[in-house]
């Protein structure tokens, strides 16, 4: 069978690419190993994690109503874990079912099979699904490689026990263990750890680096670290290496090898969330001209083209940051490039969001990067304690900051920590992409009272004229 455009992998990168290519009038086939479209993001990533985080958030807010507002629900919530799981699975089915319908309506063929490259224009299809064409091969003019990534699981932790889980296992929500260790204080570990902690587990977090969320600006991490520490009742072990894991009865015994924390401890479950690995091995890429980097990513240019003229690559398999929205936009670029449209992936800002409570979000250049690379920026910070909305909601620990290019006065980076940061960062992305100067942001009327005002206010800090804080940049008027 021949199809002009084949997309290998039906995740947020792959289906976005396939659907747009179809909308552009191309004849498209998706090859996906799983019975459902959606990929990591929909089946075992972004979506189920956010559904569970919603439950965690409401439980937290009820605690806050009790503590601070005089509104008290009697007792603790009873949690029917089967219903929680069913609801989460329902959300997934709705969305993945929707994608299936959309593929049909767009005349996109979906083949359920594992594809491997025989050569630059042929895929071998493994599997036993009816959708696999006779002969089990598919030839193409263009293939968009979108095989995504999988959780990294070092052999030392891979001890053949169900009690040692990756993020997929944690999202399966088999039970609410009494005690749980989260190995890795990155965003996935903190999101899932928060969920289990709010559902009632005693969670411990262990992180090799000096602080949680290595790489993120410290001032953004601080309020979250404080909250996580409280949630874990102090059991946050940074600067600590996990040595070995062994199954002991129905527990997992874990040894901590310092430098900050030594000894061993037993947990009912362990979540290993130390990173993700792009899926480039075992795909037969050696039969093509595609170049794979040392770190296992497919090398692409700004049009998502690989070194093989027939193959483009997008999403997690095509490099960092491994985020769904990056995958989607790259997918759209790849589809447009094949359709002959003037697309390129030349983004100035790809937002990153940690959907904990508080949320952390940033886009464009970070303070950490600016320091590392010696980029001269002015950093304009607005504390949420000065925001009427934050006061009304009782979430005054947040902050919003802009990184401004001192020469042009343009905003080139933004960081936010606080409830809803993930929504707020979108305006910052637009501002950075548009090359907005600080005045463009401060003179846009932000609705009152909202947290979006903090973006405007942080801009005002640049001029020393934020209404609700006193941080003059000009000399004060001579007094007397």
């Amino acid at each position: 069978m021949h199809c002009p455009v084949v997309v290998l992998g039906g995740g947020p990168g792959g289906y976005a690419a396939a659907f747009l290519a179809a909308d552009e009038g191309l004849d498209v086939t998706i090859v996906e190993a799983e019975p459902r479209l959606g990929g990591t993001c929909l089946l075992r990533g972004c979506i189920p994690s956010k559904a569970l985080l919603h439950v965690a958030k409401v439980i937290h807010e009820v605690d806050d109503l009790r503590a601070n507002w005089g509104v008290e629900y009697p007792g603790n919530p009873s949690i029917d874990i089967d219903k929680v799981r069913a609801r989460k699975d329902q959300v997934i089915s709705n969305l993945t079912g929707g994608l299936g319908n959309l593929a049909k309506r767009r005349n996109v063929t979906v083949i359920q099979a594992r594809g491997t490259f025989v050569n630059s224009t042929t895929l071998q299809l493994e599997g036993d699904h009816d959708s696999i064409p006779v002969g089990g091969q598919l030839t193409f003019d263009h293939c968009i490689l979108a095989t995504g990534s999988v959780p990294a699981m070092p052999p030392a932790f891979n001890i053949g026990s169900d009690r040692v889980m990756d993020s997929t296992g944690a999202l399966a929500l088999a039970d609410i263990p009494e005690t749980m260790l989260v190995v890795g204080g990155g965003y996935i570990g903190l999101e899932m750890g928060s969920v289990y902690a709010h559902l009632g587990s005693k969670v411990t977090v262990v992180e090799l680096a000096e602080g949680l969320l290595p790489g993120a600006d410290r001032d953004l991490v601080k309020p979250l670290a404080k909250r996580i520490d409280k949630l874990c009742e102090g059991r946050v072990l940074t600067n600590t290496k996990v040595g070995s894991m062994t199954e002991v009865g129905d527990k997992i015994q874990v040894t901590f090898e310092g430098p900050a924390h030594f000894g061993h401890e037993q947990f009912d479950r362990v979540l290993v969330s130390i990173g993700r690995r792009p899926v480039t091995r075992g795909l037969g890429l050696e039969n093509t001209s595609v170049v794979v980097t040392e770190r296992g990513f497919v090398q692409v240019d700004d049009r998502q083209r690989t070194a093989d003229p027939h193959i483009l690559a997008i999403g997690d398999v095509a490099g960092d940051p491994m985020l769904a929205h990056k995958a989607t936009h790259e997918g759209r670029v790849a589809a447009e490039v094949i359709a002959g449209k003037p697309a390129a992936f030349d983004k100035k800002a790809i937002p990153a969001v940690v959907f904990t409570d508080p949320e952390i979000a940033w886009a464009g250049i970070t303070e950490t990067e600016a320091k590392r690379d010696g980029v001269n920026v002015s950093v304009e910070v607005y504390p949420w304690a000065a925001s009427g909305r934050a006061q009304a909601l009782g979430i005054t620990e947040g902050l919003t900051k802009w990184l401004v290019d001192p020469d042009s006065g343009r905003v080139i980076g933004c960081g936010i920590v606080g409830s809803g940061a993930g929504e707020l960062i979108a305006e910052a992305v637009l501002a950075i992409e548009m090359g907005c100067e600080v005045h463009d942001v401060t003179e846009s009327v932000h609705p009152h009272p909202t947290l979006s005002e903090t973006l405007m206010n942080a801009g005002e800090v640049h001029f020393g004229t934020a209404t609700e804080i006193f941080k003059p940049k000009r000399k004060p008027a001579s007094v007397g």
């Binding site: 003037p342 390129a344 800002a349 980029v375 992409e433 090359g435």
Partner: protein
């Protein structure tokens, strides 16, 4: 990483303008920008195209 470089240096233009320039194979650096700090606006593109049509200077 590359996307930060474009954030601080290079020609300033909105995504739609960048897209237009790519489509017409115009080097944005060659287009005089009338926006703040030399930002290239859509109107600058139309003007540039009109004037290059006269002078035949357009690089295709």
């Amino acid at each position: 990483t590359p996307h930060h470089v474009t954030a601080t240096t290079g020609v300033q233009a909105a995504p739609a303008v960048r897209r237009m320039a790519r489509g017409l194979a115009i080097d944005l650096a060659a287009v005089p920008g009338s926006g703040p700090d030399g930002r290239v606006l859509i109107n600058d593109m139309t003007e540039f195209i009109r004037s290059s049509r006269h002078t035949g200077a357009r690089s295709h």
